[in-house]
């Protein structure tokens, strides 16, 4: 028995939740909606997601967009799961909240660097107010990127961003994204070290696979869209991948062409990540493969929690894609191809 984790309680909760979120026929219905209101009404009728709307009633910030409500839903779920943990396990699960925190930090930084109005930005926040150590009021009072990074002092995010100038924040947005990701995965891996051996191995396996996918996505995007040297690409890549070791990472960064890169990825991962994916949508392959990986593995330890949180994230990503699809009148078949769920 693990004194830090009420495993039976967590597992029962997770099993009952994950199956109930959205079924195949639900996705079919969702793709037929033509307005965001229809989607909202539908989601409110699903018991698992309905909670997202109810829980937010007690929040003092009124979120007016469905995307923000869903984003916050994942945070609330993690917060609820935290009640079942203590000690190093609680610390580990808490680290999974960093993802929503870095989403909000990137949002504020983007707005500040582009000199956009920060009014009502709180409505789009998805981070956990209960578990954050950051002073968001202070961050929001920042008048420049430099002041913003100064206000991050004493937080783990400071070091990666401290040399950032306003120009960098606009022209090298990937710097922000990758440096913050680095904090997330480094902390996750460090916290995983404190778990029991079997839990640590599982946690590192799942996170390592996620890191592999994130690295592939990053390098592919960097080669195709950004004018940066292989040395820089390598510096920004994440450590701790499962199948892609440092030397393999180096090979990927220095690959001469898109084709060579794809070939290397397939040989390292032993499956075709790019199958049926258009060049502009590398995210889809990542979410789809992560979803499959998690679905094909069952866990009777901390893995079930990580898996649930990641799967929930993918479902929310897909719903967000649907919302965007509805807003921009994307045809149903095309929208289908954007989703990680194969319908």
């Amino acid at each position: 028995m693990n004194p830090y984790m009420a495993y039976e309680a967590v597992n029962t909760k997770i099993i009952s939740r994950i199956g109930n979120i959205l079924q195949k026929e639900d996705w079919d219905k969702i793709l037929g909606f033509t307005t965001v209101d229809q989607l909202t009404v539908f989601l409110k009728s699903k018991p698992a997601i309905k909670k997202a709307f109810e829980d937010l009633k007690n929040d003092n910030i009124h979120r007016d967009s469905l995307e923000a409500i869903l984003g916050k839903y994942k945070t609330i779920e993690i917060e609820e799961l935290l009640h079942y943990f203590s000690g190093p396990y609680k610390e580990f699960v808490k680290t999974m909240l960093i993802e929503s925190e870095i989403a909000d930090l990137s949002l504020i930084l983007r707005k500040i660097s582009r000199k956009e109005d920060l009014q009502d930005i709180e409505k789009r926040f998805v981070h956990s107010e209960n578990y954050t150590n950051l002073n968001y009021n202070k961050l929001l009072s920042s008048k420049s990127v430099v002041q913003f990074t100064d206000n991050l002092k004493d937080s783990p995010y400071y070091y990666g961003l401290k040399t950032l100038s306003n120009d960098d924040a606009v022209k090298r947005e990937f710097h922000i994204e990758m440096k913050l990701q680095l904090v997330l995965y480094k902390t996750l891996m460090a916290k995983a070290e404190n778990l029991k051996t079997s839990d640590m191995v599982t946690a590192k396996n799942i996170i390592g696979f996620k890191i592999d996918l994130e690295n592939i996505q990053w390098i592919y995007r960097a080669i195709r869209f950004y004018d940066i040297s292989p040395e820089e690409i390598l510096v920004y890549s994440l450590e701790g991948g499962k199948k892609i070791t440092y030397s393999r990472l180096k090979n990927l960064c220095y690959s001469k062409s898109k084709e060579e890169f794809k070939k290397l990825v397939i040989s390292y991962l032993k499956f075709d990540l790019f199958k049926g994916v258009s060049d502009s949508n590398t995210d889809i392959g990542i979410d789809y493969n992560m979803y499959n990986y998690l679905k094909n593995n069952s866990y009777d330890n901390i893995g079930s929690v990580i898996s649930y949180i990641y799967m929930l994230g993918i479902i929310i990503d897909d719903l967000t894609s649907v919302i965007e699809g509805i807003k921009y009148n994307v045809p149903r078949e095309k929208l289908k191809s954007y989703l990680a769920h194969r319908i």
Partner: protein
């Protein structure tokens, strides 16, 4: 009555006078404004009623509150900057504002004057201090370079190479090192910065690779060392120059400080006045945004203590006579809105308000549980932890804590006092009893005396029955005050609930034969009360002549009601037994010390004996004291409060100046 009586004053005034009226209300510090739920106060009606009575200027200027707010924030920042430069502390002090005509505009005028006199100098001092800070950081970096003879300006003029000196973390250095073969630059560590994750490096690269190298360094969070103009030579020379520069800056700061010191006392007084005036203006704007307006009047709902009513009216009367005050008692308003609660207790009971507030504040119509809690908590603690010496330690500890922690200290003092009294009842001094100290006075003798054990346990139960009876009475009164007849008469915490509880107690009494009572009497009481509790909704509706007798589905009502009946049976049983712990802990207290006493008797060494008894007392004072406190709290919150206390009141929070 331990809850202060409140009245609602509806203040209707002319728009022209809103500013001075609000100023007086803030400064008198005894007005609780409940402006967020103004709809419930029917202010629209008042606006229409008095619109024609109060005639103000027809051209009342519309106010842009955001502008005033921004003006306040901006000037507050200026005041704070000046004060931090002058090393002054700002304090909220309403005395500097009352009774004079010093306006917000006057304060801005004074602030401009001070700013023009010393603002520049203060700014200059601040900049120089920042400069010193930067120079010190630079000094650390230059000082850590191993080779003190490198002259950086000399290697700056190479034909084909460029260089950069800066700090790099070990993690990023590792990343560079692993890919060193692909780099077009030479990277050399030239120093170690103490207490930092970064070290100093020099990077030399061919000029044609400048752009590529700069980008790479950006990705590595390269922190380039920027050597300010005027510094040259090797690192030893540079450090000398930095020290000299820091010395000069200190001298300049001293000179500037001497100038601004001259009028420091006078400026301190004026700046504090300005600060308080700005804070007052901010508060007024905050309230002005929230009151209800007519065309030329405003309406404000102010809850005040009945005893403060006249002084509030007088405060407004000082600044204007164009106002109307109508008064409503809390009783008239309590159906629509919740009046705020202000507890009013004597010196002995007051510290126990802390325990009540930890659970919740009584609503205005509820009975304040504090006096009852204070008496019963002291009794419980005393019975469970009766000892003259240990009580005295708590009393003294409470007295010492009183200055630092206020209420908590006072609370500990009272509990210690109760412990001393019961120490005399049991005849116990630091655990030693009459057997060890024959001169010790005692009322009933040691708790562990075989003849005392049943009596002490029984006392716990009897004590429980008495306090629960009072709790039921409080609960019934509170329910009836809320107009909740169903709960008050037929609910599990109402009259029927009590009848059930007391019948259960008498059933036990009858079975044990303590009193010669036919068992059928309490059993009839049990059955009658349980049946009525199950049927509470239809019975209430029948009495009140309301139809239908049961709202919603009849079957689900009975399912729910029967389950509630079962819960009532279990609760009554646990309630009656729960208070045994009061007696049990009295025995436990004596028993725990007995263990140490026996241990001390195992040795003949007097010093060891004293050490064992001392350790025993420490353990009892810390661990057992805490356990007894928690048990007392549990009985109060769980067994007693659940019977009569809801604790959903709003705290009386008068508006006042605050930082």
């Amino acid at each position: 009555m331990a809850i202060e009586k409140m009245v609602l004053l509806k203040i209707v005034g002319s728009l022209e006078e809103i500013h001075p009226i609000l100023k007086e209300l803030i400064l008198c510090e005894n007005v609780h404004l409940n402006i967020d739920s103004s709809n419930a106060y029917n202010n629209n009606y008042l606006v229409h009623q008095y619109e024609s009575d109060i005639i103000g200027s027809s051209i009342y200027k519309t106010i842009d509150y955001d502008d005033i707010q921004n003006e306040c924030t901006k000037n507050e920042q200026v005041v704070e900057d000046l004060c931090s430069g002058l090393e002054l502390e700002l304090k909220i002090d309403k005395k500097v504002l009352s009774g004079n005509k010093y306006s917000f505009d006057d304060s801005l005028y004074d602030l401009n004057k001070i700013q023009s006199e010393i603002g520049l100098k203060v700014e200059e001092i601040k900049n120089k201090k920042n400069e010193i800070e930067e120079l010190l950081k630079l000094r650390v970096k230059i000082d850590c370079i191993y080779d003190k003879s490198i002259e950086f300006d000399k290697i700056a003029d190479l034909n084909f190479f460029e260089y950069e000196i800066g700090a790099l973390s070990s993690e990023n250095k590792w990343r560079l090192k692993k890919n060193y073969e692909n780099l077009t630059a030479i990277v050399l560590r030239i120093g170690i910065i103490k207490s930092s994750i970064e070290d100093m490096y020099i990077i030399i690269y061919p000029k044609q690779f400048k752009e590529e190298t700069t980008k790479l360094l950006k990705s590595l969070n390269w922190n380039q060392l920027m050597i300010p103009e005027g510094l040259n030579g090797n690192s030893t020379q540079m450090i000398e120059q930095i020290d000299e520069k820091i010395g000069d800056l200190h001298n300049e700061i001293n000179e500037l400080s001497n100038i601004i010191e001259i009028d420091k006392e006078e400026n301190k007084h004026i700046l504090n006045k300005i600060f308080n005036t700005i804070k007052l203006e901010e508060k007024i704007v905050e309230l002005e945004r929230k009151v209800d307006y007519g065309d030329n009047l405003f309406v404000l709902n102010a809850w005040v203590k009945e005893s403060d009513k006249l002084s509030v009216e007088e405060s407004i009367g000082i600044v204007t006579n164009k106002f109307i005050i109508t008064e409503k008692t809390a009783k008239e308003m309590e159906k629509q809105v919740k009046p705020p609660t202000k507890l009013k207790n004597n010196w002995f009971v007051r510290p126990f308000e802390l325990i009540v507030k930890m659970y919740g504040l009584p609503s205005y119509i509820e009975i304040d549980p504090t006096p009852f809690l204070a008496i019963t908590f002291c009794l419980m603690f005393g019975i469970m932890f009766g000892d003259i010496g240990q009580g005295l330690v708590y009393f003294i500890a409470g007295f010492v804590l009183k200055n630092k922690m206020g209420t908590i200290g006072s609370l500990v003092m009272r509990l210690g006092g109760s412990s001393i009294i019961f120490g005399f009842v049991y005849g116990s001094l630091f655990g030693l009893e009459q057997a060890e100290l024959p001169w010790l006075p005692s009322l009933i003798g040691r708790p562990l005396d075989p003849k005392n054990i049943p009596m002490i346990l029984l006392t716990g139960v009897v004590f429980g029955v008495v306090v629960l009876t009072i709790s039921f009475i409080y609960g019934i009164i509170n329910s009836l005050r809320r107009g909740d007849i169903e709960e008050g008469l037929f609910g599990k915490n109402g009259v029927m609930g009590y009848l059930f509880f007391i019948s259960l107690v008498f059933t036990g009494v009858s079975i044990t034969g303590i009193i010669n009572l036919p068992i059928m009497i309490p059993i009839i009481g049990l059955l009658v009360s349980l049946t009525i509790m199950i049927l509470k909704e239809p019975v209430t509706n029948l009495i009140l002549n309301k139809k239908p007798l049961i709202h919603g589905s009849v079957s689900s009502y009975f399912t729910e009601s029967i389950f509630e009946g079962v819960e009532t049976i279990l609760n009554a049983l646990s309630n009656a037994i729960s208070f045994i712990r009061v007696g049990a802990f009295a025995l436990n207290h004596a028993g725990l010390f007995l263990a140490f006493l026996v241990m001390s008797e195992m040795t003949t060494n007097i010093v060891l004996k004293i050490i064992i008894l001392f350790l025993g007392n420490i353990l009892i004072l810390t661990l057992e004291g805490l356990v007894v406190f928690i048990q007392g709290l549990r009985l109060q919150y769980y067994e007693m409060f659940s019977k009569y206390f809801q604790g959903n009141g709003i705290e009386y929070d008068p508006i006042k100046l605050s930082r």
